[in-house]
Symmetry: C2
DNA sequence: CGAACCGTTGATAGTATTCAAACCTTGTGG
DNA sequence: CCACAAGGTTTGAATACTATCAACGGTTCG
């Protein structure tokens, strides 16, 4: 066995699994959550968000809305943007509040929540690196956005961003493409919420997350779960206990193992069948 | 009591309700389904869709995406569009098919469905007059569209429409606004599907539909339900029996009465409380 | 060390589904 | 005109899946 080389195979975890319940190597846990945003094996040198050079060497640009912009246009985008960081549980914006800003997530995970007066909560999505918040450009936020992990994001005032977009139809076009994609994901989620069983929901959730990580970084059978079980439950329309029970059921079926801060998928094909 | 004058109060139904189970006047039923698209009392002279004059006197233009266009632009829109009608249960397009066309519904009701391999179905939305199908402008349809009632729609080939849009950023802007609204509705629906009880789902559905009818025609406590109970069930993530039972429960609570082809809301405030 | 939080597991309850049958409406054909 | 078939709706009884309530184990942090 080769140690510390193949990130994708997560050897540190393998060791932990075999040693049974030995305290997790904290570095391993960190590596897993980092996977969401980092591509390639040199995780230590991974720097997301804008550096001193601004958007030019932004790691998320190519798969984000900014990918529609020419290098010359990025300079002005730089000028109207500011990098902001949010601690876990911090609020980026609240449901129904006036939309003063829009954000482009460059690092970390954000949950998008809707709540009922009595406290019931539905998470309508998780935003990862490259995702744009406030895509609809509406004057009020329809959801709340809360940092799950430490989050880094480019912030624009909505008015400045609108002015910027108005001069650039190709960017609007790109925004619209992203909105269309979001809408399609929302429809998939409606199918999941309305018609799938708990097991199908959890399996589909894990596969989905894996695919999303793959699009922004390394494809791996290690799927970090930076969000809490309660978050997952509120995303899938389940009770927290049902999420927990279903995960252990999937473990018994040998479809996955639970590792610190996430899961390792043992049989993607089994999960795909379970996900319906 | 005044007969045949006040459409909004639906006097014909009142009579029927009081006579208890007397066979419904077929005209009354027809009036109700027409309410979805007709504003004002002269339902008989109501003509939706493009007439010989094209888009200019289209009844849905002002609250549809076309509302962003100047009169001069409508001429060219006319040229690339064709009016099409669909019989109930006809398919406008199928899930995952190449998106060859986009549609603007001018009359009738369309259901947007997603299905699982085993037949389970989720309706992700009902399109009414003024709604645009294919808003996302993606190259494949993410849902199937099926006529619930007789449907009239303006059809555009996707390529022609894309070319038309490319020359008109203000139309793209309007399309994006509509997409943002759709996304917001989808998020509301996720909250409903994931976190609401059967009673809350049904109450919210009826109030929502009433509000939508109000936006495109006459606000009325009469809410036509042209779709089947199965359709409602598949929209709300319930079994057909649960929808039926919940409706009769709402009748027992005196929140509404069931009339041919729809319901009449007796207490909107009661329903609003039940909808959470 | 204890409090707080998160996750897991067990027992129980409840809501919605499933299965089944009856009812109603509509359309067809004798 | 009535009988009958077909499709949709409603109602009833039993089941099942998931939620709720409760307790416990593990980790973190002061």
């Amino acid at each position: 066995m080769h140690l510390g080389i193949d990130l994708d195979q997560g050897p540190l975890w393998l060791i932990e699994i075999k040693l049974l319940k030995i305290r997790a190597n904290p570095k391993a846990g960190h590596l897993m959550t980092s996977l969401a945003a980092c591509a390639g094996p040199e995780a230590s040198s991974c720097q997301h968000g804008r550096s001193a050079n601004g958007c030019d060497d932004c790691k998320v640009r190519l798969f984000s809305v900014c990918g529609a912009l020419a290098s010359s246009e990025l300079d002005e985008l730089d000028r109207i943007s500011q990098v902001r960081t949010f601690a876990p549980k911090a609020t980026l914006f609240e449901q129904d509040a006036l939309a003063g800003s829009v954000f482009n997530v460059t690092e970390g995970v954000v949950r998008l929540c809707k709540s009922l007066p009595d406290g019931r909560r539905q998470i309508v999505g998780f935003a990862l690196a490259g995702d744009f918040l406030g895509l609809a450009l509406m004057d009020r936020y329809s959801v709340a956005a809360e940092a799950v992990t430490e989050v880094r994001a480019c912030r624009f005032t909505r008015s400045a961003f609108l002015a910027y977009v108005d001069d650039r139809p190709h960017l609007l076009r790109r925004l619209h493409e992203f909105a269309g994609h979001e809408l399609s994901l929302a429809q998939d989620q409606m199918l999941l919420l309305g018609r799938k069983t708990a097991e199908e929901k959890v399996a589909a959730f894990l596969l989905n997350l894996q695919a999303r990580y793959g699009r922004i970084g390394t494809t791996s059978v290690n799927v970090p779960l930076p969000m809490s079980r309660q978050d997952i439950a509120d995303y899938l329309g389940l009770a927290i206990e049902t999420v927990s029970r279903t995960l252990t059921k999937l473990v018994r079926k040998k479809a996955l193992v639970i590792v610190p801060d996430g899961v390792r998928l043992l049989s993607v094909t089994a999960l795909e069948q379970l996900a319906a």
